[in-house]
């Protein structure tokens, strides 16, 4: 048996010895495998080694990892450094030197498969529209507005109706940026958090989902300024609408969980047909990831000055625009004490860490498999 084949067997049995140590500790006693298609790439093998470190994967999960596709762009299956290699193709690597991204290409593909396989829980039926209609539309920050609208509909208060007033819900601008990126990451796919912020700052513009004034102008053209209201505190919405309901707060995801979801989201489209991704992500994966511990996402310090400047512009527009503003307009400025919602500009938060995202991907994969165990004592 060649050293490469022996290492594959070692990993299949739950081993955690890195390739270099394994190779150096074992004489090469056989020819290299004759069927390269049957040998997993360094990325899959290292992903399995890390999975063995994180817990005890079931035999089925082991085989899924070994045969997992490297989704997305990047290098193909890589050979193991120190083994005989073909003259052509990408040079072999020591798997321990692989960047986290290469391992995540294997793991996120498997997680996307899981998202599609698990599906979503049945949606509770909407109540018939109530006798007492509430004529409203709810827009603004979609991370806040969409779940509230769904809950209102579920309780018999569907949006719309003649002479409906449009309420645009917002919060502090930093928090709205967090929300806009969150929503975009889960539904459309997005660049990394800080890359996304860098582009916005360079273009000095707000994304449409976080731009309350742009949305207000859009609605004004359709329904008239008298039918547009801006709500700076989402907690006021039930009172404003006159409904006796506790409207849901959207889940707060840890920054690392959110970044993992961002990486999985575009891959869900590889396994689910058109139009299914949003539902699978928002009602399938997000509630599971919401249980993950960790600091929420926040605007990094180096972007604070830009966000504060843009928030002041929003505040000035808000106070001089002529729209009715419900709630304190100063809430959009953010800062300590302006919102108790995690992820707000004034609250604690962080940016995602690649290593933490990798760890979370490994744990999630183990948890998704009913026959695997996370952080088991067993080691091969």
């Amino acid at each position: 048996m060649s050293r490469a084949s022996a290492w594959v067997a070692h990993l299949r049995g739950g081993g955690i010895t890195p390739w270099r140590a394994f190779r150096d500790g074992m004489p090469d006693t056989g020819p290299p495998p004759t069927d390269p298609a049957g040998v997993p790439g360094a990325q899959q093998l290292e992903a399995l080694r890390r999975l063995n470190q994180a817990g005890r994967p079931s035999p089925a999960l082991v085989e899924r990892v070994l045969s997992g596709d490297l989704v997305g762009r990047g290098r193909g299956d890589l050979g193991l450094a120190g083994e005989a290699q073909p003259h052509f193709g990408t040079p072999p690597v020591d798997p321990a030197d692989l960047p986290v991204n290469e391992l995540l290409r294997v793991l996120t593909g498997l997680l996307a498969e899981d998202v599609v396989r698990v599906g979503v829980p049945p949606r509770p039926a909407d109540q018939r529209p109530r006798f007492r209609r509430v004529r409203y539309r709810l827009g603004g920050d979609p991370w806040l507005a969409v779940p509230m609208r769904a809950e209102l509909t579920r309780h018999g208060f569907p949006p719309g109706g003649g002479r409906a007033v449009t309420y645009l819900v917002g919060r502090d601008l930093g928090g709205m940026l967090v929300d806009a990126w969150t929503r975009r990451s889960l539904t459309d796919g997005a660049a990394g958090w800080e890359t996304w912020l860098t582009k916005l700052r360079r273009a000095d513009r707000l994304p449409p989902r976080a731009d309350l004034m742009r949305q207000a102008r859009w609605w004004e053209r359709r329904v008239g300024p008298q039918n547009v209201r801006i709500v700076t505190d989402a907690a006021l919405v039930p009172t404003i609408l006159g409904v006796d309901l506790a409207l849901p707060q959207p889940p707060v995801l840890a920054a690392d969980a959110l970044d993992l979801a961002r990486r999985v989201s575009p891959l869900v489209g590889l396994f689910a047909g058109p139009g299914q991704r949003e539902e699978l992500m928002l009602r399938g994966l997000v509630p599971r990831l919401a249980r993950t511990d960790g600091l929420p996402l926040a605007v990094p310090e180096r972007f604070r000055q830009w966000v504060e400047r843009r928030a002041r512009l929003v505040y000035e527009e808000l106070t001089g625009c002529g729209y009715a503003v419900l709630g304190d307009p100063a809430l959009v400025l953010g800062g300590p004490g302006t919102s108790d919602r995690p992820g707000s500009a004034g609250g604690p938060g962080t940016s995602p860490s690649e290593q933490a995202v990798l760890g979370l991907a490994l744990r999630t994969l183990l948890e998704n498999d009913p026959h695997s165990h996370v952080e088991g004592a067993w080691r091969g």
Partner: protein, 409 residues
């Protein structure tokens, strides 16, 4: 079960689009000759390749779910020769090649799979691939692009993709590895070489005809899908546009206005500017690499349609650096672009004026309709009903009964 499957797996920039277009537009005629080109839409094989290789592609992948299996099922159900062609299949890993070949019936004893690779010298492929990148919003300079190609680990997105779809011996090795125990004999691997510059215009097509068994079929060859190429100042200009537009221009606007109007319809029509070429400093590296490839490909005994000598590209006679072009030429290209865009805006304005005239006409018709007593009665009734809650409930009941709503959502 198909008797023969001709699996064309690349490479990009070798006339693949033209071949695919001819096959697509002649599907019924080909079937009369027992040749299947299984595609309901032009990009069917592209979608199948995305599905096989698990490649996200800006949302298009959602349309690709299950596309490879559907394609393979059509091939297996056909009695005759089937053609599958897409250049990104060059990137398949051995495991993906194994899945693809098995699904097409390779090794079942009745189906003969042939692997076809159309190939062109790196001297032309390298600048062509960079230009293709620029046409897809890349801002990477030519120097950085070349540096990434020469980076041994190929860990960047540019290098990993380029060599995956261009390193000929490796592409064939990966597909042959995918054939597993059944093997893929050398005489079922066909290399179609792109003739050198200055060759007769139809020579490459004749090589495709020979390889794909299309001789004697009266094919409709008309096509407007040929890839277009840009000169040095034009590519520079486009890269500058990318540098400024990427953060501001939406993808659909970029596709329509930058790629179509600017690159394809305007800048590619300028033929007097210096052409993109391999820099002289890179020629020896490319030449050594190519010699290595040619030696390997010759030693394997593959069927060559054309000549492997075609892969040894000629040293470019002239070179203009696309990172530092003659700015007079760039200004000229920019002025041409502005005129083209102004003309385009003029067309939009004319369209807008026409639509305004149509709207005014429709408003007139609506006003005349409002003079109708029945309409006036309905309007008065609506006004009365919307004033009170009871009336509103009557209206809501009406909307529900009608099954559709004119209310705002």
């Amino acid at each position: 079960m198909a008797e023969r499957v001709l699996l064309h797996v690349g490479t990009p920039k070798t006339g693949t689009t033209y071949l695919q277009d001819v096959c697509f537009r002649n599907r019924p005629l080909l079937e009369e000759h027992r040749i299947l080109y299984p595609a309901e839409r032009f990009d069917a094989h592209f979608l199948a390749a995305l599905d096989l290789m698990r490649l996200p592609w800006g949302g298009l992948e959602e349309q690709a779910v299950g596309a490879w299996d559907r394609l393979a099922a059509q091939v297996r159900a056909f009695d005759g020769t089937a053609i599958i062609s897409h250049e990104i299949l060059a990137r398949a890993t051995p495991a993906q090649a194994r899945r693809a070949l098995a699904s097409l019936g390779h090794g079942d004893g009745t189906t003969e799979v042939h692997l076809i690779l159309s190939v062109r010298d790196l001297v032309r492929q390298i600048p062509a691939e960079w230009q293709e990148n620029v046409k897809h919003r890349t801002t990477t300079s030519y120097a950085d692009f070349l540096a990434e190609l020469r980076e041994p680990s190929r860990s960047g997105l540019i290098g990993s993709w380029f060599w995956a779809v261009q390193e000929l011996p490796d592409i064939v090795d990966r597909w042959r590895a995918g054939a597993g125990d059944h093997g893929l004999p050398a005489d079922r691997v066909h290399l179609v070489t792109v003739p050198p510059p200055g060759s007769p215009r139809d020579l490459l097509w004749e090589r495709f005809v020979e390889t794909f068994g299309l001789g004697g079929i009266d094919l409709d060859l008309g096509t407007d899908r040929a890839n277009v190429s840009l000169g040095v100042p034009e590519t520079y200009l486009l890269r500058q546009v990318n540098l400024r537009a990427n953060d501001q221009v939406e993808p659909e606007d970029y596709r329509e206005l930058v790629r179509e109007v600017l690159a394809h319809r305007t800048l590619s029509a300028r033929s007097g500017s210096p052409r993109l070429a391999l820099p002289p400093s890179a020629f020896d590296w490319v030449s050594t690499l190519t010699d290595d490839w040619v030696e390997e490909l010759s030693s394997q005994g593959y069927d060559v349609v054309g000549s492997l000598a075609d892969l040894s590209g000629a040293r470019p006679a002239a070179y203009a650096d696309p990172d530092a072009p003659d700015l007079t030429q760039v200004v000229d290209a920019a002025a041409t672009s502005i005129v083209a865009l102004v003309n385009d805006v003029g067309r939009w304005r004319a369209n807008e004026a026409r639509l305004h005239a149509e709207i005014a006409d429709l408003h007139g018709q609506l006003s005349r309709a409002r003079m109708n007593p029945a309409y006036r009665f309905k309007e008065r009734l609506y006004r009365v009903l919307t004033k009170g809650r009871t009336g509103q409930r009557v209206l809501d009941a009406y909307y529900r009964a009608r099954g559709s709503s004119s209310r705002l959502a």
